[in-house]
Amino acid sequence: MQPLRSHHQNDAIPALPLYRSAPPLEVRLEDFELYAIDRLRVLKAMSDGLSRGKNPEEMEKLVKGLLRANMRHPQASEDVNKDIISHFVLRLVYCRTEDLRKWFLSMETALFRYRFLLLTSNDHRRAVMAEFNLPYKAVSNAEYEGVKDKLGQVARSIGQPPPTANDIFYKVPFEEVPELVANRKVYIHKGYAYVAMNQVVSLVVTQFRSHLSKALILTNRKWTSTIREQEKDRLTPIVEALSTSYLGPDYSQPRESAEISIKDLDQIAKSSFPLCMRHLFEKLREDHHLKHGGRMQLGLFLKGVGLKLDDALAFWRAEFSQKVGAERFEKEYAYGIRHNYGKEGKRTDYTPFSCQKIISSTPGVGDNHGCPFRHFSEENLRAALSRMGVGTRAMEDVMDKVRNRHYQIACTLTFEAVHSSTCDAGINHPNQYFIDSQKILQSKNQSPGGS
């Protein structure tokens, strides 16, 4: 099966493969993972966009941008291969449970829908329909004359402009377009529905979804029966890590300009820390102690913010020695801090935790880490947000998101309320919150007259 190729060299919209069968291509192991990560970035950003209530037009635009940013290959001719390979890798990743399959199916179908809508030429669209074996005849002029009144009636009944003689209609067995039939959006006669070109999307998407749904079940079977075991030293660890991976910058290397000294900490904690880190910081100042989970979460965050190792040691020592004494600090806690900076043990330079990781952690008694949006009681959360400066109206929006378990969106709304500015990308990482916050504050300081 030849995937469609766009005729224009510089066309920003990639061709539209249907992923009917796994391609007989060779992939480097490195690319196996990287391609998948790029595609996953697209899918997750789409998911984000949808849950933020973007309308179809906005989503089309978003998808166009995402594809351009993530799915291109240095060699333009390789774009299509990257597209296909990344899809099939993600099939392996997302076939393994019912929830994963549901999410993947939903996002890939949406992606397909928007890409189909982005196809500019009718020829391209008809070629896709042909690939799906939809042998629907376009309604002839003669037949059109006979039914155009009815077609006009239907158009008016669904708020569409009436069809003209140039509009193409397809005659399709009614059972192939259940959505259109159910909503009386088509004229039906003797078992055939008359589908407008713009309704063809529904046709095509239904088939795509149905094919992919079946394919995922088959992939799961193959995975559990053979692949997982066969590939346990090669692909399996990659596949298993991908479904839970965070996909943004990892903030392990703070940028040159971002150096923080201890004396700045209190100030920036108040102005630019996300709630989770603010809470840990305040608790540390209060109790002069944090348990392990808190030390990891806050410690790595501070590293990402730009706190150097020596300053970090001084900072933690200053706090902890008030509780446990300087000697015990050196004996029991200093090692851990150096370990976080990659100076001990196997010298892994640990990366600061992403929101995903923080949200999924489970703080116990005496712990203060985790995501406050998830773990705080409503009362405590309201109090904490109010101290951050979140106003009453924003507060309600935030609490609504919390109730629906959209913790990152709640944090994003908090950011927006506190900084009086929008955050289109959404918060995915505490260090991202910090950087964006600092950016806004610095630009406010630089512009004449402030704000």
Binding site: Q153, S157, F174, E175
Partner: protein
């Protein structure tokens, strides 16, 4: 018979030539004192058409030629409700004789027909719930259930299980609208309408294509037919907001609904005769200036015309006001249609149609609560 004919069953089943008609009496007169199993035994012994049911449900597979699937009838589920409310599901039979002897032996008070499964229902436990070897429905007639008690809010003559000559036209209307759509729009041909034995009708669409529809496709047909929404908490049950009606609704209105409303129901139900009743209609018109003017006209005691029925007079006034353009509200004409639809448009039980495994009462059952009536097929008059 050609294979085509085989699979669709004998055309136009006319088991008996009776038209779908309202039962002649209401409940509770000249029937045996007690419905008891003796009568049932007799009925099953002498009258129940076993071989016709077998022939129907075989869809030609009871023949001898090599294309016939011998297992077909045996994969159909029947269910029996016995005397003491014992419910037996997943009954299956391989021949008319087996069907007959089981029914005569068990004397069920009610027989339901379910789908044709992938394997004999009696053997279902040997099969998985998912994967390749499943126990799952593979064929089932497309069915509709219209129950008179769903119309209680728009009929004043009866309620619940009661049915009379005044409100039976609602059933006739429903049958006409749905039947026409099934034939003209969906292209089905083998359609059986059956009085359900108590207070409504069932429709069995037996075309091969219909039997093989998925749940999603059945749901889409049911939704195509759905207009009635809302419950006793909403003022309006029907909302037709667009500037034009879909051709199916427009045809139903001009060919069936408008006529029956104006010529029969308006009068027989006295829809506008009293204040209580006309207020209900006025509630469906959100335009204050219109309702105020109508109310003003109708609250006068004297009747301007003695020869015309008050319902007719008032209806004319209502239509006049909404269609004349005298009042400036948007879409006022639509309310006339909404009122007519509310009172006449078919009200289907969605759940019955949507699932392949839904069990529906078999035609020719005798209903214990209405011993004088039999679930019987009717020939739809065109």
């Amino acid at each position: 018979m050609t294979r085509e004919e085989c699979e669709n069953g004998p055309a136009d089943m006319l088991i008996d030539g009776n038209k779908a008609r309202a039962p002649r009496e209401k409940q509770g007169n000249s029937v045996p004192d007690k419905f008891n199993s003796n009568y049932l035994k007799f009925y099953y012994g002498k009258l129940f058409p076993f071989s016709d049911i077998f022939k129907w449900m075989s869809y030609g597979n009871d023949g001898k030629h090599p294309g016939c699937d011998q297992t077909y009838f045996g994969r159909r589920e029947f269910s029996f409700t016995l005397d003491n409310d014992i419910y037996l599901r997943f009954q299956s039979f391989t021949s008319a004789a087996e069907l007959e002897s089981s029914i005569q032996e068990k004397c069920p008070f009610k027989i339901d027909i379910g789908p044709v499964y992938s394997v004999d229902p009696a053997k279902r436990h040997a099969y998985a719930q998912s994967g390749d070897n499943v126990f799952t429905p593979v064929e089932r007639e497309l069915i509709f259930d219209i129950d008179m008690s769903d119309y209680d809010d728009v009929r004043y003559c009866c309620s619940g299980a009661d049915v009379c000559l005044e409100c039976w036209p609602l059933m006739t209307v429903a049958i006409k609208v749905i039947d026409t759509a099934l034939r003209d729009d969906f292209g089905f041909n083998h359609i059986l309408w059956v009085y359900s034995g108590r207070r409504g009708v069932h429709c069995w669409v037996c075309d091969r294509k219909a039997r093989r529809l998925s749940n999603e496709q059945r749901a889409s047909i049911a939704d195509y037919f759905r207009v009635y929404k809302g419950n006793e908490n909403s003022d309006k049950k029907v909302s037709l907001t667009s500037p034009a009606l879909h051709p199916f609704l427009a045809r139903s209105y001009t060919e069936v609904l408008e006529g029956i409303f104006e010529e029969k129901l308006l009068l027989s139900q006295n829809i506008l005769a009293t204040e209580e009743r006309y207020e209900k209609i006025l509630d469906m018109i959100p335009d204050e200036s219109v309702t105020a003017e109508l109310r003003g006209k109708w609250q006068e005691k004297r009747q301007s015309s003695i020869s015309n029925d008050i319902n007719v007079v008032r209806w004319e006034q209502l239509k006049q006001l909404l269609q004349s353009g005298k009042h400036k509200g948007k879409g006022l004409r639509r309310y006339v249609e909404e009122i007519v639809f509310s009172f006449t448009y078919p009200r289907l039980d969605m759940e019955v149609s949507k699932h392949m495994n839904h069990l529906l009462k078999a035609p020719f059952c005798v209903h214990p609560k209405t011993a004088s009536r039999r679930t019987q097929p009717g020939r739809r008059e065109r």
